[in-house]
Amino acid sequence: MRRTVGALLRKDVRLELRSFESVPAMLLFSVSVLVLFHFGLDRSALEGDLASGVLWVTLLLASVLGMNRLFVAERDQGGFDGFLLAPVDRTALLVAKALLLFGFLVAVELIAVPAFALLLLEPGAGQALPELLAVLVLADAGIAVVGTLVGALGVQTRARDLIVPLMALPLLLPVLIAAAEATAPLLLVDGADPLPGRWLAVLALYDAVFGLLAYAVFDFLLEE
């Protein structure tokens, strides 16, 4: 399983480095949306709930672009058939694609979060940005698992660009709520409140439940 996941990941990272189809698109989209919020909200700077909501809506919408393209090479270039003919555990594809999407999200956030702080955050409201890492990791894990499931479903349809967001966004609503709630106290001007453990637990539970669900159903998604 580890060998197969490694082979799939190595192949996918190479494909992304050659084509630059996913991460740059997600990144440009994120920064564009942050710029739009910057001008559209007619506020000089944000903090707390509003800042948190803006950040997570932006990241969630950007993640949909990654989900949309996650399985395109497999479908268009016969990757599914090549993989299905190999004597390997099919769950390896789920794990590899979820890790890949997780990696895409981390790469985007490395630039989008500082850009968010620069464009929208009230000076002094970003003291707890390092603590934000825990929220980002847990939320990204949930987005990656659900995104992989939805991406695998969507790529089989002609209306992939429509189906993926229509399925993913409602499924990811709990992630959006929990991540925004967990992040809001970290973005207060008067000094960050402690990281709310309750919302981190919600994110961890979501990740566990959808991780198990994905493990259970992914095989069936690969059937014709």
């Binding site: 082979a7 494909l15 270039q77 059937e223």
Partner: protein, 233 residues
């Protein structure tokens, strides 16, 4: 007297296999048997059901009717038993266009647990050594076909499913791949071809499809060129 060894299962055994896409039936009531090491030539006009048959044999499509047993495994229920024992050369090369030939073959070698040296040797054997480091999208069709053949035989399958394997190959290319996919390669073969003469020459058994039905299902010795050409009339 020593007990007789257990008989080797047929490479392919189909009984009344059928398949539809929605309301459109593309394959109906196809039965055949192919022994290990034998070659089945499949003929038929476009849309006759040849590719659908090949995908059923590869375990990539589920038959909607009948029973399909490949290398002793009933498909699709026991498909996991024969994954890795089937080599498929389809219309599409099943290669990633942005990866090099070597990267593609190394990827499939890892999936199949095959040493990378075998991939390197195959690439040299088909005359692609000088282009092994080039992305597949930069190769000509013939070169891509050679790379696809390397992928299909990389894991030394027991059953080769070949959809017009010599398409796009020049005589030199065809000669280079012959030891890999020709009769001398060893495994049972299902060979889709529009070249009736060559297909008949290579076959032990013949399946001629017309409108998804088996219009011909016989030993190659009992089939004439006229019979095959009649499928396209």
């Amino acid at each position: 007297m020593a007990p007789a060894a257990a008989a080797e299962p047929a490479a392919v055994a189909l009984e009344g296999v059928g398949r539809a896409y929605g309301e459109r039936v593309v394959l109906r009531d196809v039965s055949l048997e192919l022994a290990p090491g034998e070659t089945l030539a499949v003929f038929g006009a476009n849309g006759a059901g040849k590719t659908t048959l090949l995908r059923i044999l590869a375990g990539l499509l589920r038959p909607h009717a009948g029973r399909a047993v490949v290398l002793g495994a009933a498909l699709p229920r026991e498909g996991w038993k024969v994954r890795g024992r089937i080599g498929l050369l389809a219309h599409e090369p099943l290669l990633y266009r942005d990866l090099t030939v070597h990267e593609n073959l190394a990827f499939h070698a890892r999936l199949h647990g095959v040493p990378l040296e075998r991939a390197v040797a195959l690439v040299e054997q088909v005359g692609l050594g000088a282009r092994a480091g080039d992305p597949v999208r930069t190769l000509s069709r013939g070169m891509t076909q050679r790379a696809a053949i390397c992928r299909a035989v990389l894991h030394e399958p027991d059953l080769l499913l070949l959809d017009e394997p010599l398409a796009n190959l020049d005589p030199g290319g065809a000669g280079a791949v012959a030891p890999l996919i020709g009769r001398e390669a060893g495994p049972a073969r299902v060979l889709i071809s529009h070249d009736a003469e060559q297909g008949l020459a290579e076959a032990d058994r013949v399946l001629g499809l017309r409108g998804g039905r088996a219009a011909i299902a016989a030993a190659a010795a009992d089939v004439t060129l006229a019979d095959v050409r009649g499928l396209y009339a």
